[in-house]
C-alpha cells in the first residue's frame, strides 16, 4: 500500500469516518508496522492518559512479609550449604591453590575492570546499604520488641553507619521500653566508641537508665574504654536511692578503676 493511501486512511480514522472494512485494514497495517499507534490521535490521547494515571501504593505490610520471606529463604540456603569440614592436611594444598587463583583473579579483574563497571558496583552497594538503613529505621518503630531487636542487629551488617542510624540506636538505648532492646542497642553502639560524640552520648545515657542490667553494662563499657569523664555520671547513680545495692557495688568498683 502506498504512503499517501495510508495517510488518507489514518485521516479518515481520525475524523471518525472509517468503516469496519477500513478499520480491519488499519489493524493489518498496525501489525506490519506501517501505521504507528501514535498516529491515531484519539486513541493515542487515551493511551497517554492511562500512562499518566496514578496508582495506589501497597501498604508497609507487604514490605514486612516480603523481607520475612526473604530472610527465611536465606536461612534455608545456609542450611543447605552447611557441610562438615574435612581434615586440614587434605584441605591445605587445595586452599593454597584456591588462594593463588583468587588473588590472581582479583588482580586481573582489577586491571580489566572499566570505570563504568566500578561505578555500577559502587552504586549497587550504596543502594543496598541505603536499603538496610531504611529497613533498620522502619523496624525500630515497630511495636514488637522482636522486630526492634532485629533492627538493632541489622547494624552489624553495615560497613559504615550514618548519624541517623547512631541517633536511632541512642534513642533505643535511652527510651525503648524493652531492656533487651536497650542492651542490644548498647552492643550495636560499641563499635563506634572511638567517636567522641558517641562517647559523650553514652555518658549522658547513664543518667537516663533505670534498669540495673543496663546501668551495669554501661559502667563496664566506661571501664573498658577508660572514659574518665563518666565518673560524675556514675557517682550520681551511687547517690540515687533507687539504685540497687549490687549495682552500687559494681559502679563503685568501676569508679575506682577509672580514677
Amino acid at each position: 500500500m502506498e504512503k499517501t493511501q495510508i495517510e488518507e486512511l489514518v485521516t479518515k480514522y481520525n475524523e471518525g469516518v472509517a468503516d469496519p472494512k477500513e478499520i480491519k485494514l488499519i489493524e493489518q497495517l498496525i501489525e506490519s508496522g506501517e501505521i504507528d499507534l501514535t498516529q491515531l490521535r484519539e486513541l493515542s490521547g487515551l493511551d497517554e492518559q492511562i500512562h499518566k494515571m496514578k496508582m495506589l501504593s501497597p501498604s508497609l505490610n507487604l514490605d514486612d512479609r516480603f523481607y520475612a520471606a526473604l530472610a527465611n529463604e536465606k536461612k534455608h540456603i545456609k542450611k543447605e550449604t552447611s557441610f562438615s569440614i574435612p581434615s586440614l592436611s587434605f584441605l591445605f594444598p587445595r586452599l593454597a591453590m584456591a588462594a593463588v587463583l583468587i588473588l590472581s583473579g582479583f588482580s586481573v579483574g582489577y586491571f580489566l575492570q572499566s570505570p563504568a563497571q566500578k561505578s555500577e558496583v559502587a552504586e549497587l552497594s550504596q543502594e543496598v546499604s541505603d536499603l538496610k538503613e531504611m529497613m533498620m529505621l522502619s523496624l525500630l518503630e515497630k511495636e514488637s520488641a522482636t522486630q526492634r531487636l532485629k533492627a538493632v542487629s541489622l547494624t552489624s551488617e553495615m560497613n559504615e553507619v550514618s548519624d541517623k542510624v547512631t541517633n536511632a540506636l541512642f534513642l533505643a538505648l535511652n527510651q525503648d521500653e524493652n531492656i533487651n532492646v536497650r542492651l542490644a542497642a548498647l552492643e550495636a553502639i560499641k563499635p563506634y566508641v572511638s567517636k567522641s560524640s558517641v562517647r559523650t552520648k553514652l555518658i549522658e545515657s547513664i543518667d537516663s537508665q533505670t534498669s540495673p542490667l543496663v546501668q551495669v553494662a554501661l559502667a563496664e563499657l566506661m571501664v573498658s574504654i577508660q572514659e574518665k569523664k563518666s565518673v560524675n555520671a556514675l557517682k550520681q547513680l551511687l547517690e540515687n536511692e533507687s539504685t540497687p545495692r549490687e549495682v552500687k557495688d559494681k559502679i563503685s568498683e568501676s569508679i575506682k578503676i577509672l580514677i
Binding site: I23, I26, E27, I30, E31, S32, G33, L37, L40, E42, L43, L46, D47, Q49, I50, H51, K52, M53, K54, M55, L56, S57, P58, S59, N61, L62, D63, R65, F66, Y67, A69, L70, E73, K74, I77, E120, L124, E127, V128, L131
Partner: protein, 186 residues
C-alpha cells in the same frame, strides 16, 4: 540501563546473592501492585499476589535466562500473570460478570477512587477500564507498566510485537466507546 541492571541483579540472585532480590522488590513492588490492583480492585488480594509473584521468582530463580534488555521485567510479568490466573482458577471466579455485579464493583471502586485518581478525567477513565473485558484490560495494564515496550509484552503474552499492537489498538478502541458512553451519562 535500568533493564540491564535488572538482569544483572537477577543473575546475582540466581547465583545465590539473595540480598539483591530486595532491590528488585523495591523497584517493582509498586508497578506489580498497580497491575494486580488494576485487574482485581482489591487492596489485600493485590498485596498477596505481589508477595506470591516474588516468592515464585525466588523459587524459580534457577530458571531465569537473559538474552537482552527487559528480560527480567517480561519474565516477572509473565509470572505475575500466572499468579493471577492461578488465584482465579482456585477461586473459580467467573470470567464474565453480570451487569449487577459489575455496578456493585464500580460502586466499591468509586469509594476508593479518590486515592487513585486526582482528576475527574482519570476517574472516568478508570471506570471505563473496569468495564473492559479482562484480556483487554490486562493488555492495557501491561502496556502501562511495561512502558509501551511491545516486544516485552509480546514475550509475556506469547505473541509477536505486531500482534500486541493490534491487541492494544482493539482495547483502546473499545475503551474509547465505553469512555464516551460514560461521558454522556454524567
Amino acid at each position: 540501563m535500568e533493564a540491564l541492571s535488572d538482569n544483572v541483579l537477577m543473575m546475582r540472585v540466581k547465583e545465590g546473592d539473595l540480598d539483591k532480590m530486595s532491590l528488585l522488590f523495591e523497584r517493582y513492588k509498586r508497578p506489580l501492585y498497580g497491575f494486580f490492583y488494576g485487574l482485581n480492585k482489591e487492596q489485600e488480594l493485590s498485596e498477596d499476589l505481589v508477595q506470591n509473584t516474588f516468592l515464585r521468582i525466588l523459587k524459580y530463580r534457577h530458571l531465569f535466562r537473559t538474552q537482552g534488555d527487559g528480560d527480567f521485567r517480561a519474565w516477572m510479568f509473565h509470572i505475575a500473570r500466572n499468579v493471577n490466573n492461578d488465584h482465579h482458577r482456585k477461586k473459580r471466579v467467573k470470567a464474565t460478570e453480570d451487569l449487577e455485579n459489575w455496578q456493585e464493583r464500580v460502586g466499591h471502586h468509586e469509594n476508593q477512587s479518590s486515592e487513585m485518581q486526582h482528576t475527574e478525567e482519570h476517574h472516568m477513565l478508570s471506570m471505563a477500564m473496569d468495564r473492559l473485558p479482562e484480556d483487554k484490560r490486562e493488555v492495557l495494564l501491561l502496556s502501562k507498566f511495561e512502558e509501551k515496550k511491545y516486544s516485552e509484552i509480546g514475550a509475556v503474552l506469547g505473541c509477536t510485537e505486531g500482534a500486541v499492537k493490534v491487541k492494544v489498538f482493539r482495547a483502546l478502541q473499545e475503551l474509547k466507546v465505553i469512555y464516551k458512553q460514560l461521558e454522556k451519562s454524567h
